[in-house]
C-alpha cells in the first residue's frame, strides 16, 4: 500500500472555479514527488485538499487515501488527528504562515502538545532539536517571526512540519520567494531531512528545474489537471506534453549556445479556472494543436516506462511527441502573443 493515493480528486471552489479536475497521484514512503505547473494551475489547492483545509463551500470529490484511509470521508475529529501527525504542510509564503504574535518555539511546540506527543518540557526539548536540525540555534525558539529573515522563517516552517514526525510532508513552494543562494540552502536541507527520516515528500513549485534537481518523480499540472507525470529527469529533459516541454524550455541552460539570445516562452494566457476552454484545456496555446484538440480532452495515458502524459499526440502509433520534437522551431522562437 502506498503512503498517499489520490484518486480522481476534483476541487471546485464556491465561486465555481474548478481548480483541480480529476487528479490521480501516488506516493510511496521515502519518495519525493515534484508538482509543477504555472501559477494558478491548482497546485496549492491540491495540497490543501489533501488535508481538507479548503474553505467551507468548496466541493471536493474523489478519494485521498492516506495510508489507506480516506481523508475526505473521515470524521472531523479524525481529520484533526491526521493533520500534522500524519501529514504536515510547509505553506507557500512562510512570511504569513507563521503567527506574528507567538514565539516560534511555541508555534513549533503547539502541534506536539496538541497531538500529545510529548509533555511541555519534552516539547520544549524537541523544539530545540528541531531547530538545530534545520540549522538554527535552539535559542532562537524565543524569537518572534519578524525577527527572522525570510530563509530562517522558511526553516522554522520546515521544523514545524517535522514536529510530529509525520509520514508525509507537503512543501508548497518552499523556495519561491527566496534568493538563489538561500533557495539552495533550503533545498539541500529538505533533501537531507527526507533522506534521514524516510518521509514521503510532495514538493510544489513552478520551477521545473528545481524540482527536477530535487525530486524522484515529477508531475506537471495544467489548469487543474496533471498533464504529464514521470521520473523527474526524464520529464525535465524530454517532456512529452507540449506544455511540459514549453515549461522546461523556459529555463535556460547556461552555457548552452542554443538558448543564448533565444529566450523561450509560451504565448497566450493561462486559462481561467472558472471558464475553461473546451477540449484539451491547453489547445489554445498549444503549438502543435490538432483540430481535434478543441473537442477531445485527453486523459493521462502511458508515454513510456513509468511515464504518463495527457496529450493526443502521446502514445499514437507515430508518436506525436517525437514528431513535435523534431520541429523545435514551433517552440523555440518566442513570439509575442499576437494573433
Amino acid at each position: 500500500m502506498s503512503l498517499l493515493d489520490v484518486r480522481d480528486l476534483t476541487v471546485t471552489y464556491a465561486s465555481g472555479a474548478a481548480a483541480v479536475r480529476g487528479v490521480d497521484l501516488r506516493l510511496d514512503a521515502g519518495q519525493k514527488l515534484g508538482l509543477a505547473g504555472e501559477s494558478g494551475c491548482g497546485k496549492s489547492t491540491l495540497a490543501l485538499a489533501l488535508l481538507r483545509l479548503l474553505p467551507t463551500g468548496t466541493r471536493i470529490t474523489g478519494e485521498v487515501l492516506l495510508d489507506g484511509e480516506d481523508v475526505l470521508t473521515m470524521k472531523w475529529g479524525r481529520v484533526r488527528a491526521v493533520r500534522w501527525a500524519g501529514a504536515s504542510v510547509v505553506f507557500q509564503g512562510a512570511m504569513h504562515s507563521l503567527n506574528a504574535v507567538h514565539r516560534i518555539g511555541d508555534q513549533i511546540a503547539e502541534p506536539i502538545l496538541l497531538h500529545r506527543k510529548a509533555t511541555p518540557a519534552g516539547a520544549k526539548k524537541k523544539t530545540g532539536e528541531l531547530l538545530e536540525q534545520v540549522g538554527l540555534p535552539a535559542a532562537r525558539a524565543d524569537a518572534y517571526p519578524h525577527e527572522l529573515s525570510g530563509g530562517q522563517r522558511q526553516r522554522v516552517m520546515i521544523a514545524m512540519a517535522l514536529a510530529c514526525d509525520p509520514r508525509l510532508v507537503i512543501a508548497d513552494e518552499p523556495t519561491t520567494a527566496l534568493d538563489v543562494m538561500i533557495q539552495a540552502q533550503i533545498l539541500r536541507l529538505i533533501e537531507q531531512l527526507v533522506a534521514d527520516q524516510d518521509l514521503g515528500l510532495i514538493m510544489i513549485s513552478h520551477d521545473l528545474a528545481v524540482l527536477a534537481d530535487t525530486c524522484d518523480r515529477l508531475a506537471v499540472m495544467y489548469a487543474g489537471r496533471v498533464v504529464e507525470e514521470g521520473p523527474a529527469d526524464e520529464v525535465y529533459e524530454d517532456a512529452r506534453h507540449p506544455y511540459a516541454r514549453a515549461l522546461s524550455a523556459a529555463f535556460p541552460r547556461i552555457g548552452d549556445p542554443a538558448s543564448r539570445f533565444a529566450p523561450q516562452g509560451l504565448a497566450g494566457d493561462p486559462p481561467d479556472p472558472a471558464a475553461l476552454p473546451s477540449g484539451c484545456t491547453f489547445h489554445p496555446r498549444c503549438p502543435v494543436a490538432l483540430e481535434s484538440c478543441a473537442e477531445e480532452d485527453p486523459v493521462l495515458r502511458e508515454a513510456g516506462p513509468e511515464r504518463r502524459a495527457a496529450c493526443v499526440l502521446v502514445g499514437r502509433p507515430a508518436d506525436g511527441a517525437g514528431e513535435a520534437h523534431e520541429k523545435p522551431d514551433a517552440l523555440e522562437e518566442a513570439r509575442p502573443s499576437t494573433p
Binding site: R52, T56, W76, G77
Partner: protein
C-alpha cells in the same frame, strides 16, 4: 405584586421620619451665605439661618425674624433691632445681636464676605451690638431696605474661624450650625442638599423631618420623578411647561399649583446705552430712539397670542410694569393709552416716523439699509425662543427683520449695550423699589467701564422725579399712586414692553404633602418664596408608608437576578454552540 412594582406611594421614610423631596433644576453655587447668589442657594439659606426680618406669607409685609421689633431714628439713619432671645444655634449656643453685628461687620470689612450681599451694607456706617438682644445699625444715608435686609445671620463663633471668605463654601463639615427651621446635614454637588428639621426652631418645628433638594438637570426627568413619587415637589425652571402642567393636571395624587407669578416678562429696548458721565456706548439701532418706532413694534406684538400659544394660559397678559399679584401697585393703561395689538396702526406709526418700505417690502432705516433688529435672547429659556419666532413673523409682516441672538449668557452684550432689543424679566419683590430703581438715571454705570444697577440704560427725567417722590413718601397709599404713575410713564416710553406675567407653575404630590403654604396665601407660589414658609409649613400626608429604600433594594435584586439569568442563558447557548462547533471547520 411583582417585585418590580413601582414604588409610587412613598413619602420616603429614610431612617424614621418623613422626607420632603424637592426637585430643583439649579445647581448650588455656594453654600456660604456670603457667596451664594442663586435662587436655590439663597432659599436654602432661608432654611438654615434666620434673617433679621421675614415677610408675612399673606401680604408680604415685614414681620419679625431674628429681630422681634425694630425702630429707626427720625432721620432714618439709625436703626435699632431687638434680637429675640429664644433662637438657639443648632450647637446649643444662643443666637445674639453679637452674631448679627459680626455678620454685618464682616461684610463691611471683608471684600470676600461682601460678594453676595454687599449691596445691603454698602451704605452702612457702623453696626454694633450693645447688648445680646440689641443691634444698632448706623447708616450713611437713608436706606429703604432696612426692614427687608435679606442677609442670613451666621453664628460668629463658627464663622470667625474662616480665613478666606471668598473661597469658603460652607460645604465640608456637617451638620452646619444654623438657627433656621432646618439644619443642613448633607450636600453633594449636583446631586442633593439635605436638611433636617430643627425641632427647637423658635417659630415651631417643621412638620417634615427632612427636606431634600434633588438636582435634576432635565426638567422632564424631574416631572417624571414627581409622577413616580420619587420627589414630592417640582418647581420647574422657572416653571413647568404648559405641556407638563397639562399632563400633570390629570394625574392622580398630583396637585398643580398654577400661581400668578411675581415675574414680568418684557421686551426691553436699547435706548442708546450711556453712562452717568454722559459717555455713549453700545450700538443700539438708532431708529429705536424714536418712541413711535418702539410703540409701533409693541403694537405689532399680539400679547394674547403669546399668552395663548407660548404660555398656553399659564400667564397673564402684560400691561403695566408690575404684576397684578402686587395689587396695591398694579397699574393698567387706560383704553386710549393702551398700545393694543394693531399691526395696521403699527405700520402707520412706522411710516409716520419715516421708516417706509422699499421695493422688497422691507423698511429702511435712515442710513438707507433695511432694518433688522438683533434681539438678545436667553438660549436656556424656551419662552424667549418661542416668542422670538413670533416676533420674527409679526415684525416681518411690518417689513422689519429680526435676528435672534440666543446666548447662554447674555450679560456681556447686555452690559455693553450691544443689542437692539432683548427679552427681559425680573422677579418683583413685595416692595417694588428695586425693580423701579433699575430704570433711573442714577442706576446708570458711572462710566462705560463700570457696571451700573440699571436694567437696560433707561434714563428719563420725568420718571426719575417720580422715583424720588415715592422714595420720600411714607404713606403707603400715596406711594402706591406714585408708583403707578411711574409705571404709566414707563409704559408710554416704550423701553420696557411687558408682554406677560408668567405664572409660577409647580406641582406636588398630595399623597406626600397634605398641605403647604403658598405665598401669598391666596393663589401664591411655593418655590422661591421670600421666607421659609412653604417647607416649614408643609404637612406630610399620612398615607405615605412604603419605603423606597426597601423597594429599590428589591428592584436591584430583581435586576441582578435577571442579569445573572441572562448571562447563564448566554453561557448555555455559547456552550451549545461550542458543541456544534466541533463539527464545523
Amino acid at each position: 405584586a411583582t417585585p418590580l412594582a413601582p414604588a409610587s406611594q412613598q413619602a420616603r421614610a429614610a431612617d424614621d421620619g418623613k422626607v420632603l423631596t424637592v426637585a430643583v433644576a439649579q445647581s448650588v453655587d455656594s453654600l456660604s451665605p456670603f457667596l451664594a447668589v442663586r435662587l436655590l442657594s439663597t432659599s436654602i439659606h432661608r432654611l438654615m439661618y434666620e434673617y433679621l426680618t421675614n415677610y408675612d406669607p399673606k401680604d408680604n409685609h415685614a414681620i419679625p425674624g431674628l429681630a422681634t421689633k425694630w425702630e429707626s431714628s427720625p432721620d432714618k439713619l439709625t436703626w435699632t433691632y431687638t434680637i429675640r432671645s429664644n433662637s438657639k444655634w443648632s450647637d446649643g449656643k444662643q443666637a445674639t445681636a453679637e452674631d448679627a453685628a459680626w455678620t454685618f461687620n464682616k461684610m463691611m470689612t471683608d471684600d470676600g464676605a461682601a460678594t453676595a450681599n454687599g449691596s445691603y451694607v454698602g451704605n452702612f456706617k457702623k453696626v454694633t451690638a450693645p447688648s445680646p438682644t440689641k443691634l444698632v445699625v448706623e447708616l450713611k444715608k437713608p436706606q429703604a431696605t432696612m426692614v427687608s435686609l435679606d442677609v442670613p445671620i451666621v453664628p460668629k463663633h463658627v464663622w470667625e474661624k474662616v480665613s478666606d471668605f471668598s473661597e469658603f463654601n460652607n460645604d465640608k463639615s456637617f451638620p452646619v450650625v444654623g438657627n433656621g427651621p432646618f439644619t443642613l446635614t448633607g450636600y453633594k454637588a449636583d446631586s442633593y442638599v439635605r436638611l433636617k428639621a430643627n425641632k427647637g426652631f423658635w417659630r415651631g418645628a417643621p412638620k417634615f423631618d427632612e427636606v431634600v433638594f434633588r438636582y435634576y438637570k432635565d426638567q422632564d426627568a424631574a416631572v417624571s420623578a414627581l409622577r413616580k413619587g420619587e420627589v414630592s415637589f417640582v418647581a420647574g425652571s422657572p416653571s413647568l411647561t404648559p405641556a407638563q402642567a397639562a399632563s400633570l393636571e390629570g394625574a392622580d395624587n398630583i396637585q398643580v399649583n398654577d400661581a400668578p407669578g411675581r415675574r414680568f416678562y418684557a421686551l426691553a429696548t436699547n435706548p442708546g446705552a450711556k453712562a452717568k458721565n454722559g459717555k455713549k456706548f453700545g450700538d443700539g439701532h438708532p431708529s429705536l430712539l424714536d418712541q413711535r418706532v418702539r410703540n409701533a413694534l409693541f403694537r405689532a406684538v399680539d400679547r394674547e397670542a403669546i399668552i395663548e400659544k407660548v404660555f398656553q394660559g399659564h400667564a397673564v397678559e402684560g400691561e403695566g410694569y408690575l404684576p397684578p399679584r402686587f395689587s396695591q401697585y398694579y397699574w393698567k393703561p387706560s383704553a386710549d393709552q393702551k398700545l393694543a395689538y394693531d399691526p395696521a396702526e403699527a405700520a402707520r406709526l412706522l411710516d409716520q416716523a419715516g421708516y417706509r418700505k422699499n421695493g422688497d417690502g422691507k423698511r429702511v432705516g435712515k442710513d438707507g439699509k433695511p432694518i433688522s433688529y438683533r434681539v438678545l435672547c436667553h438660549a436656556t429659556d424656551p419662552n424667549d425662543k418661542a416668542v422670538g419666532k413670533y416676533l420674527q413673523e409679526w415684525w416681518g409682516e411690518l417689513g422689519i427683520g429680526v435676528q435672534l441672538n440666543c446666548l447662554d449668557n447674555v450679560t456681556d452684550p447686555w452690559l455693553a449695550g450691544k443689542y437692539d432689543l432683548a427679552f427681559d424679566g425680573w422677579s418683583v419683590n413685595p416692595d417694588p423699589d428695586f425693580v423701579m430703581s433699575i430704570h433711573t438715571c442714577g442706576a446708570l454705570p458711572a462710566t462705560p467701564e463700570d457696571t451700573g444697577a440699571t436694567d437696560n440704560f433707561i434714563c428719563d427725567k420725568k420718571y426719575d422725579e417720580l422715583y424720588a417722590r415715592q422714595l420720600a413718601e411714607y404713606d403707603p397709599a400715596k406711594r402706591a399712586d406714585i408708583v403707578q404713575q411711574m409705571e404709566s410713564r414707563l409704559y408710554d416710553l416704550g423701553y420696557m414692553n411687558v408682554m406677560a406675567y408668567p405664572n409660577a407653575v409647580e406641582a406636588y404630590r398630595t399623597d406626600q404633602i397634605k398641605s403647604i403654604t403658598t405665598m401669598p396665601a391666596k393663589a401664591g407660589n411655593i418655590y422661591g418664596q421670600d421666607g421659609y414658609w412653604s417647607w416649614w409649613s408643609a404637612v406630610p400626608a399620612d398615607s405615605g408608608g412604603s419605603s423606597e429604600n426597601a423597594s429599590s433594594t428589591v428592584v436591584v435584586v430583581g435586576v441582578v437576578a435577571v442579569v445573572v439569568l441572562l448571562a447563564g442563558l448566554g453561557g448555555f447557548a455559547a456552550m451549545r454552540r461550542r458543541a456544534t462547533a466541533e463539527d464545523r471547520e
